[in-house]
Structure formats: C-alpha cells, structure tokens
C-alpha cells in the first residue's frame, strides 16, 4: 500500500467516523431525509469556490452553514413544517449547483474523486473531525434528552434551540468534510446509512454511536479500496458498501 492510499484511508476514516457519529442523532431525531437533502446544498458552494479558485471544501462549508441556519430558523421560529421546505429548497440548490458548476468538475463534485484530495484537505478534515467529536460529546446528553422530550429537556434548563443549532452546524461541517470523498449527491447517505444499520444492532445508545462510527469508517475504507481498484468515482462504492452493511444488519436483527 502506498503512502497516498494510507493517507486517503486515514482521512476517509475520520470522515466516516464523524458522519456516522452525527448520523446516530439524525436517525433518532427522525431527520434522516433532512440529512440527505442537506448534502445537495454543498454543490453551489463548491461551484462558486471553484470559480473563485479557493478550496471547494470551504465553499461547501459556507453554503452548508447558511442552509443550516435557514433550516434551524424555520424549524424554531415559524409555524411552517420544515420538511416540505427542505425538499423544495435543497432540490433547487442542486439544480442551481449543476448549472453553475464548471463542466469538467461537475462529475467529481457530484460523486467524489479521490485524486482531488490533497494535503490541505487532509488537514482541514483532521481539524474538523476533532471539532465534531469534541463538540458533539459536549452537547450529546442535551441532544438526547431533547429527542426523548423537548418539554423535559427545556424544563431541566436545556436551551434546545441552541443545542439544535450547534448540532445542525456540526452536521453541515461533517457533510463538507465528506463531499470530496463521496460527492454532494451521495454524501447524505454516509450520515444516514451507517446510523440506520447501527440502530438495527444496538443494545444501548453508547453502543449505537460506536457502531455507527465504525460502520462509517468501514464503508469509506472498503469504498476507497474498490474505487482505487476499479478506477472509478469514490462516492458510489462507498455508499454501496454502507448499503451492504445495512442489509447485513437487517438480517442479523432478525
């Protein structure tokens, strides 16, 4: 194994672990589709970053942060049911993203490209993963209580809107870290599928979070190997590996 591949696997493992970990809460909060649709928002951000010749990951992060604040605001402050708006808003951003992304970069932005991942991306990912694990641990109990009962959480002094915003911003960060590996079209799957599989097997919450992270790591690991071996975009094999784990977890559950 060459050092480049080892580097990709290491960075990819961090992406898989942080998405799986955050995804476990996404599944509990029954926001799976939000997680999926959210990843599409990264595309116009990447496109603008490419046009301005800055790191596409950074563009994705800015676009995602804005989108997250938008969803959060609608969820907390308005009477409108967010799910429908999320569907409209995110597919719109996907359509715009496809129009504005320069043709040569479009395929890799949509489905991921291992060749495009450089040292800088690796460093950003390491820093991002540290932030995700540290911050999520800090808010995890409050988040959990909020999932069970917002009333109970609020009555024990938890500021739920604040906790929800921090959580969604972390999801945005995780998606931004993963777009180069999996692509904007499929990145949502890396947040959701490992967590759903882990839920089939988990006996407790800590067990659930651990399994979701591990399955995220394994999906990326095998996905990268397959992509390298076949010389294809990395997104589809990563997602298909995670789906295979889902099938396995479903059988084991029975």
């Amino acid at each position: 194994m060459d050092t480049n591949l080892l580097f990709l696997i290491f960075v990819g493992a961090l992406v898989g672990a942080s998405s799986g970990y955050l995804g476990s809460f996404m599944v509990l909060k029954r926001m799976s589709l939000v997680g999926d649709a959210l990843s599409h928002v990264a595309l116009p951000g990447m496109a603008i970053a490419i046009t301005l010749a800055i790191n596409p990951m950074l563009g994705a992060l800015i676009a995602l942060t804005l989108a997250v604040i938008g969803i959060w605001y609608l969820g907390e402050k308005s009477e409108i049911y967010p799910e429908a708006l999320v569907g409209v808003f995110f597919t719109a951003s996907l359509a715009i993203g496809i129009l504005v992304t320069p043709e040569p970069e479009l395929l890799e932005a949509l489905f991921g490209n291992l060749e495009s991942i450089g040292t800088m991306d690796g460093l950003i990912t390491i820093a991002g993963a540290i932030v995700i694990f540290w911050a999520t641990r800090l808010i995890s109990k409050k988040l959990l209580l909020g999932v069970i009962s917002e009333d109970l959480a609020t009555s024990t002094g938890v500021n739920m809107p604040q906790v929800n915003l921090i959580y969604l911003l972390l999801v945005g960060l995780a998606v931004a870290l993963g777009v180069k590996f999996v692509g904007t079209l499929l990145m949502g799957a890396l947040v959701i599928v490992p967590a759903v599989s882990a839920k089939n097997l988990a006996k407790s919450i800590s067990n659930f979070q651990f399994l979701a992270s591990i399955l995220g790591v394994l999906s990326i690991f095998f996905g990268i190997l397959i992509a390298k071996w076949l010389g294809i975009s990395s997104g589809p094999p990563v997602v298909l590996v995670s789906i295979a784990f889902f099938g396995l977890s479903y059988l084991l559950k029975k």
Binding site: I148, D151, L152, T154, K199, A202, S204, I205, N207
Partner: protein
C-alpha cells in the same frame, strides 16, 4: 410574596392561535401541600403545567418562590421500541454518579435491597426505555425528576397505558416520597377518588377556575356539573363520595 406561598398564579391566560385554552386563572399553592388539578379531557390541565414550567407563552403572572427547584414528570414519552436508549443511560443524562442513580431507583421502588430486587434493578437498568411497561416507565420518570433534588414535583397523570393497580401504587409512592422528603406536590388527575385520597387541596379546572380548596369542601354538585356536564350523578354514601359519567 408570602413565605408560606410557593407558587402564585394570577390572571393567567393561554391562547393557541385565537383559541382560548386557559382564561383568567388565579390560585396560590402553599409550601408542603399536595394540590390536585382536576378536570375533564381538554380542560387545559397539561397546558397549565406547561405554562408553569415556562414551556409556552402566556399572559398574566406565574410567580414561583425563589428557592424553588421543580421536578417534572410528564404524562408520557414518545420513545419508540426501536430507540436503543437504556434506563441507565436515560438517568445518567441527569446524574453521572451511579450510586445516586441506584439510590433513586430504590426510592421509586425499582431495586429493593433484597437480592432478587437487586437483580431486577440491574436488569432494568439495561432495559430499553421503549419496552418498559406503563407503570415501570412512570417510576423511571419519577426517578428522573427526583435526580435533580427538587422541592416541587409536578406530576402529570397518564390517561392511558397504566393499569389501575399500577396507578394506585404510583400515588402511594408519591405520598411516601412526600413524607420522606421536603416536597410540595402538584398533580394532574381526572380521578376523583385519587384526589380525595391524596390531595389536601384541589383546583377544578375547565378552561377557568371552577373550584378551589380542600377537596371535601370545594368539590360539590355544582362544580362537578361545571366540570363534567349535567349528566354527572353525584351521590354520597358510607363516607365515600362517588361520581360517574353517563354514556362514557
């Protein structure tokens, strides 16, 4: 505020959209008392609790004594069977110290000191919240409320999912806790029987205050009619008072 008054509610109004749920409600709760809130479905009992906890916007005034620490036992939780949250993980959200968690479980009657009960308690800790029976879940919720070391317990009675005998023991548990700890208890009930047995004062509620005071004085034919409608038959015999609703 008077030292002996723990909670003072005055001119409370709650509206959802243009719908008036609670109208001009005023009452005081004394320290160390047990207040029952009695009323039919849709009378605004849970809404009153939510206003008291500051969970929803309201007009008027809700003033708690400054030293108040509230423990809240909600009516139910929406925890699916598929959610892998165990009882111990749930309680550890509030308290890291395992011995305190076990102590509280013992207090609510889940995990006695007998060997058999210790095993039961240990097994219960690993059980998922979603698969507990109604009575067990309620005890776990009471344990959760007690972990903060509250001096007021707000207890919202479940309307379903707990059988009569479990409900009975839950109230016995609450009155036991009240004796052991320095607790003021405010509970929601729709059972007149429970109100007579466990409360020293009652607030009859049907969007507005229908009656207030010691149960045997405050609850009469007129207030029951205002709560449950004309068809309610109210009669006394052998020192017990009963009521039933026709057609339900």
């Amino acid at each position: 505020m008077n030292e002996s008054i723990l909670l003072s509610v005055s001119g409370l109004k709650v509206k959802f959209n243009s719908h008036l749920i609670l109208d001009d409600l005023s009452f005081d709760v004394k320290r160390d008392s047990t207040l029952a809130i009695l009323g039919p479905n849709g009378a605004g009992k849970t809404v009153l609790f939510r206003a008291m906890l500051g969970l929803i916007p309201f007009e008027g005034k809700i003033a708690w004594a400054p030293d108040v620490k509230v423990g809240y036992v909600p009516q139910k939780l929406f925890v699916g069977k598929d959610i892998p949250l165990t009882v111990s993980e749930f309680l550890e959200i509030k308290e890291k110290d395992r011995s305190k968690v076990l102590g509280v479980l013992k207090e609510v009657g889940l995990g006695d000191s007998s060997l058999q009960e210790i095993h039961r308690g240990a097994r219960l800790l690993k059980t998922k919240l979603g698969v507990l029976s109604g009575g067990e879940l309620q005890r776990v919720l009471i344990a959760f409320a007690l972990l903060g070391g509250p001096n007021v317990l707000l207890f919202d009675e479940p309307t379903s999912g707990v059988d009569i005998s479990a409900e009975e023991t839950v109230y016995a548990l609450i009155s036991k806790l009240k004796k052991e700890k320095d607790l003021t208890i405010i509970f929601i009930s729709h059972e007149l029987e429970v109100v007579y047995r466990f409360a020293d004062s009652v607030l009859c509620l049907n969007k507005q205050k229908v009656c207030f005071g010691p149960p045997r004085e405050a609850i009469d034919k007129k207030s029951l009619e205002a709560l449950y409608g004309e068809e309610v038959h109210f009669y006394k015999h052998h020192n017990h008072e009963h009521y039933h609703e026709n057609g339900h």
